[in-house]
């Protein structure tokens, strides 16, 4: 494999609270190649968003702190970068879109101004050129009559349209990576599909890589090449989409896949959806050993002894579970 575009190695992002250190991200490895779409899945609070925000260095520090690890962006370590160096990467090289399109845009500026702000900043365009670019970007994300809409304010757009504006903004400087942090969670199902299609279309046309963070296994199956499954601040499994859905190794991944409602079998078998019992462990005092052990039906004494490392079980398929120890 050639050098990945983004290579997160052993990343630990902790938060200082009154009760102690919350280990939100506690040793995460994710690599994303050029033009690749990687899904990061896991339930709420597993550290997906914190990982993404750490890559952009958008974590408030304090209380946040990058305790360990490196984030190699085209070979340079983002963790060590100065705020000035980091600013040149944001939006220029890595774009990001968020979960809440309703609140992610500034209500007092026109969408055109907000897109133009990015290109003026990074490409030094004049006001006119920047507005032209904003119109072009709005057209690219399929907003009708962009020449008119460019002068509208965010409140004049619907949720799905606002997410399109966010995508236009994030892609306006043609970044090599787009981080999409649950981009469809706040939207209704038909709009979700449109936004996912749009992301796929953009990737094809502009060729950037996408890090798609979601808790929706369906979204992952449809749009990504490779999937990283996170649990309680750690990566538990990583594989191509086909392998992950066809032959999930980690008991947590197996549980996640079994919990997906299936329209084809549910009707005839009338089975109850399978849920994973128990709750996510506290990230304040995570248990020693495998963090999923307490909820795992295959758990043995070995599981609670030491944290199982992420290791290859097949080419391109990694899992962190003692069941697959040779």
């Amino acid at each position: 494999m050639t050098e990945p575009l983004l290579d997160i190695r052993g990343l630990k992002t902790h938060f200082k609270t009154d009760d102690g250190m919350v280990r939100a991200v506690d040793g995460v490895d994710i690599a994303i190649g050029r033009g690749e779409t990687v899904g990061v899945v896991g339930e709420s609070g597993c550290g997906k968003t914190v990982t993404a925000m750490t890559v952009m260095k958008l974590i408030a520090m304090p209380p946040g702190e990058i305790v360990e690890g490196e984030i190699l962006w085209q070979g340079r370590d983002i963790v060590k970068m100065s705020p000035d160096e980091m600013r040149k990467i944001r939006s220029k090289e890595i774009g990001i879109i968020f979960q809440e399109p309703m609140t992610s845009l500034n209500p007092v500026y026109t969408v055109g101004d907000q897109i133009a702000e990015v290109v003026r900043l990074h490409e030094g365009l004049s006001r006119r050129e920047a507005t032209d670019r904003a119109i072009e970007m709005l057209r690219l994300v399929n907003i009708p009559t962009p020449e008119r809409r460019v002068k509208d304010y965010p409140h004049q757009f619907s949720g799905g349209m606002r997410q399109r504006v966010m995508i236009a903004m994030a892609l306006s400087c043609n970044p090599q990576l787009l981080i999409a942090d649950e981009p469809t969670t706040a939207l209704d199902v038909t709009i979700q599909a449109q936004i996912l299609d749009l992301l796929a279309e953009m990737r094809e046309r502009l060729g950037m890589a996408i890090m798609l963070i979601t808790h929706d296994m369906g979204v992952v199956a449809e749009t990504t090449h490779r999937v990283v499954v996170m649990y309680a601040g750690r990566v538990v499994e990583e594989a191509t989409v086909d392998r992950l859905f066809g032959d999930p190794k980690h008991p947590y991944t197996q549980g996640l896949i079994r919990s997906i409602p299936r329209i084809d079998t549910a009707a005839e078998k009338k089975e109850r959806l399978e849920a994973i019992g128990g709750v996510v462990p506290s990230l304040l005092h995570p248990p020693p050993g495998c963090r999923f052990a307490a909820r795992c039906r295959f758990a043995t004494d070995k599981c609670t002894e030491a944290m199982p490392p992420l290791r290859d079980v097949a080419p391109g398929h990694k899992v962190a579970c003692v069941l697959y120890d040779a």
Binding site: M56, L58, P83, R87, K88, I89, R90, S91, K92, G95, I96, F98, E100, T103, S104, L105, N106, P107, V108, T110, E117, V118, L121, H122, Y153, H155, M166, M169, A170
Partner: protein
């Protein structure tokens, strides 16, 4: 926009009418009238007093007197002071500029202090700077102006003898010295009013900014690669200003009230001291006119606030 403005002015008219009606009735019902003294004055024969009362319609029904006052006023005749015999509009025009300058400068001072301090405190919440700023702001708006005013007089006029403690409208100087004298005598009243307002505003600006700081679009702004300074000024402060503008406008009646007290302390010959003097002398036409001018100013500032509000927040449309 201009249509909105016209409609707002049209709405303001009935409220002004209502205010004037209430003011007039309360004043008419209040015990004592400008001719009360004449009745006790042995030098004035009772017939003269009675004919004076009749001439000014003092014993007519209130509604009749109100209608008379209103029609006169609409024609530009505001009546004359029973005490000094000077036309009321002349009196007010003599005093109003002084009050507006003192209040205007003190509001500007308050904003100049409150905006940077409040914003800086909010972007570093619970820092040492924030703690000191909030404590000082708390002290600032807890101390009444009549107390801080007297303190300043005691320190700067009496002990140090740096500043005059009586405000004079007829400064005997020309050129630069004239402005210097005016500046010197304005320092204390403006600081007392301004710093009190700054205390109120600082706390408000701080909390308004704190409300905006945690919103998603601030993260978006940072993700664009903007400098922190640009994020604060362009994205945070711009949004935090919307509630601040409302507060500043809604504070205007309180500011005028505070100005009345401050003008008394520093003997500023403004409209506030005119009002106090008129009340003490039962000088009804002056009281009526001054309170009415206050009412107009308050309504005017509310209108300005609404316009600013719509300018700051595109989500508000003038309909």
């Amino acid at each position: 926009m201009s249509q909105y403005l016209i409609r707002r002015i049209l709405i303001a008219l009935p409220s002004l009418l209502g205010i004037s009606l209430v003011l007039f009735t309360v004043l008419a019902l209040a015990p004592g009238d400008p001719f009360g003294e004449l009745a006790q004055n042995p030098a004035v024969p009772p017939e003269v007093a009675a004919s004076l009362r009749e001439k000014f319609g003092m014993d007519d029904p209130i509604w009749e007197r109100y209608v008379k006052w209103l029609t006169q006023m609409l024609q530009g005749n505001w009546g004359f002071s029973f005490v000094s015999r000077v036309d009321v509009d002349v009196l007010i025009m003599q005093r109003l500029p002084t009050t507006l300058i003192v209040i205007g400068s003190s509001q500007i001072l308050a904003l100049l202090v409150a905006l940077p301090v409040g914003v800086y405190a909010a972007v570093r919440p619970y820092s040492l700077f924030d703690q000191i700023a909030t404590t000082l702001a708390f002290i600032g708006f807890s101390l009444p102006t009549f107390f801080t005013g007297l303190m300043l007089i005691l320190i700067f006029s009496i002990t140090l003898d740096w500043l005059p403690f009586v405000y004079q409208s007829n400064v005997e100087a020309t050129g630069l010295a004239f402005y210097w004298e005016h500046f010197k005598q304005s320092i204390m009243p403006v600081s007392v009013l301004g710093l009190f307002q700054a205390g109120v505003l600082t706390r408000f600006v701080r909390s308004a900014v704190l409300d905006v700081v945690r919103l998603d679009f601030v993260t978006t702004a940072r993700a664009k690669g903007l400098r922190e300074r640009a994020v604060i000024v362009k994205h945070i402060v711009r949004n935090a200003m919307i509630p601040v503008v409302t507060l500043v406008a809604l504070q205007m009646p309180a500011v005028f009230g505070g100005a009345v007290v401050t003008e008394q302390i520093f003997r500023v010959p403004g409209i506030g001291s005119l009002l106090i003097a008129a009340i003490l002398a039962n000088d009804t036409p002056v009281i009526m006119a001054v309170t009415f001018v206050f009412a107009c100013l308050v309504i005017l500032f509310n209108l300005i606030a609404d316009l600013l509000y719509g300018w700051l927040d595109p989500r508000i449309s003038y309909r």
